[in-house]
Amino acid sequence: MVDLSVEVGGLRLKNPVIAAAGTFGFGTEYARLYDVGLLGGICTKGLTLKPRPGNPPPRLWETPCGLLNSIGLENPGVEAFLQEELPRMRGLGTAVIANIWGETPEEYRELAERLSRSDVDAIELNLSCPNVPGGKIRGGVPEEVARIVGLCRRVCEKPLWVKLPPEGDVLEAAQAAERAGADAVTASNTFRALAIDIEKGRPAFAGRIGGLSGPAIKPIALRVVYELVQKLKLPVIGCGGITSWQDALEFIMAGAHAVQVGTGNFIDPLCIPKIVRGLADWLAGRGMEDLEGVRGCAH
C-alpha cells in the first residue's frame, strides 16, 4: 500500500501536493469541477487586514511557457475570510493554509494573531509579493525576515510557513526564518518580471512589474530548492512551474517535503489530482511504500 502522507512543518498532510496561494481562490471554485478533498492542502488567496480591490486590468499577460500576473492582492480581508470563506473551506476535506500579507511587520503580527485563534491548519507568510504598489519584497532581506517571523512566532501557535521570493539573499533569508522560529519555508513565489505592450508603448500592467510563474521558471525554482535543502534544517516546500507528477518528483528528489502547484491549475484544471495519482502509481510501480526513500536522493 502506497502512503503519500507527509509531515511538513508541524502539519500532517494526506499527500504532498498543495494548491499554491492565489491560484485556487478559497477552494470552493474548483470544488465545482472535482473533489478537492483529493488535495494535500489549499493555500488561500493572500489575506490582508482590510479588504483590497487589487490592480486595474489587465492583470494577466502570457510569455512563452510563462504567465505574468499583477493581481495586487485582491481579497475580502481577514474578517470576511473568517466569517464567510473559512467555514466553507473547512467542509472541503483538506488542510487549509492561510496565506497572509502585511504592509508592515506589525500587520503581519496582527494577522497571525487573529488566524492563530481560528480554525486554519497553518499560516503562510507571503514575504514575496511583487505586485503591491509601494510594497517591498521583504523576503529577500534577512533582517526583515527575522523581524517579521519573530513577531508572528510570538503570537502564533499554528505551524508557521514562510514563503520566500526566488531572488535576493534567499539562503540567508531562509536561515533567518529558521532562527526566528518558522516551521517550514516555501520556495518560491513568482519572479519580478516585465512585459511591454508594444501597441501602447508602455508596460502591460499599470503597476509595471508583475510576477512570472509557470513552466518557464521551473528549473530556477528547482535550483533554489536544491540549494536551500543543503543548508537548512527546516522542511522546504517546493513551488514554481510544476505541471506534472514528473515535475513534482524532481522537487521531491531535490529534497522538498511537499510541493505547491499554481499556474499548473490553469494549464490543466485537473492537474493536482493527476499529480497525486501519478506519484502513487510511480511508487507502486517500483514497489515503494512512501516518498521517504526518494526525498533528497539527488544530492
Binding site: F24, G25, E29, P56, P57, C65, N69, I71, F266, I267
Partner: protein
C-alpha cells in the same frame, strides 16, 4: 450551480466562414445558457492559458463556437481538423438570464457569437448585427428571429454604417449587446437615454475561468467583479467603463 466539466472532445467541423473567422463544432452532450462560455485548448503547455470562447450554438451532437484568429491561441485552434481533439472547460459564467417582453439583441463583429442562443431562447427578439465587411452566418439568425437588421462598414450585404448608429432602443423592454468597447459604450448611451435596461457581455484575459485566480476582475460600481464568474454578462450601468 451548473455542473462544470473539463474533458477532451472531438472536433466535428472547423470551417472558415469569412476571412480569418471560423465556426468550430465540437462533439459532446453539452449544455449552456445564452452568454455562457468555455475555456478551450488544443495544445500542451504553451500558451499556458486556455482561450475563452462564447457558445455560439448547441445541437444534440455538439456545441459550436464562432471565433476570429487574433493571436497564437486562436491560430492554433484554426488549424484543427475534424477528428482532432481539444480540451474544453465549461460551461462557465453567469450567462444571460433572458427577460420578458420586447427584446433587442445587438452584436458587433465577433460580438454576434453569444447572440444566436439568445435569439433561440427569446423567440420574439429582434436582432441587430454589425459587420466590418461582408456579413456571415446571417441566415442562422434569420431561421430563429423574425427581424434581423444587418449593417456593414463597407455596405456589402447590409446597410452601410455601424450597428450602433442604426440601432435605436425605443420600444424595447430590454437589450443585450456584445462587441467592441466603443460599440458597447455607444449602445449603452442610447439605452440610458431611452431608459431601457441593457445587458452587456464583457471580455478580459482569463486564467482559471472559475473565479479562483482574480485575473479577470474589473472594477464595477459594486466593487471588483470577476468577468468569468460574476459575468461575463453585466447590467450596463455596473462596470466602471473607463477603468
Amino acid at each position: 450551480m451548473d455542473k462544470v466539466t473539463f474533458r477532451r472532445a472531438k472536433v466535428l467541423e472547423n470551417r472558415e466562414v469569412a476571412p480569418g473567422i471560423f465556426l468550430l463544432r465540437v462533439e459532446g452532450d453539452h449544455s449552456a445558457r445564452p452568454g455562457q462560455f468555455y475555456m478551450l485548448r488544443a495544445w500542451e503547455l504553451d500558451p499556458p492559458l486556455s482561450r475563452p470562447l462564447s457558445v455560439f450554438d448547441l445541437d444534440p451532437s455538439g456545441v459550436s463556437f464562432l471565433y476570429k484568429v487574433r493571436g497564437r491561441g486562436t491560430r492554433l485552434l484554426s488549424r484543427l481538423s475534424p477528428g482532432d481533439e481539444l480540451a474544453a472547460l465549461g460551461p462557465l459564467g453567469n450567462g444571460w438570464k433572458g427577460v420578458e417582453g420586447r427584446v433587442a439583441l445587438v452584436g458587433g463583429g465577433l460580438g454576434i457569437a453569444p447572440l444566436l442562443l439568445s435569439a433561440k431562447s427569446v423567440p420574439e427578439a429582434d436582432v441587430y448585427l454589425g459587420f466590418p465587411g461582408k456579413p456571415y452566418l446571417v441566415e442562422e439568425f434569420r431561421k430563429v428571429a423574425e427581424k434581423v437588421y444587418v449593417t456593414s462598414e463597407t455596405g456589402e450585404g447590409g446597410e452601410r454604417g455601424l450597428v450602433s448608429d442604426l440601432f435605436s432602443p425605443e420600444g424595447y423592454d430590454a437589450c443585450f449587446a456584445c462587441g467592441p468597447l466603443g460599440m458597447l459604450k455607444e449602445v449603452a448611451k442610447k439605452c440610458r437615454e431611452a431608459g431601457v435596461p441593457l445587458y452587456v457581455s464583457l471580455e478580459e484575459r482569463m486564467a482559471c475561468g472559475l473565479g479562483a485566480c482574480l485575473g479577470c476582475t474589473v472594477p464595477t460600481k459594486g466593487g471588483p467583479r470577476r468577468v468569468c464568474k460574476d459575468g461575463p454578462v453585466f447590467l450596463a450601468e455596473e462596470p466602471c467603463w473607463d477603468g
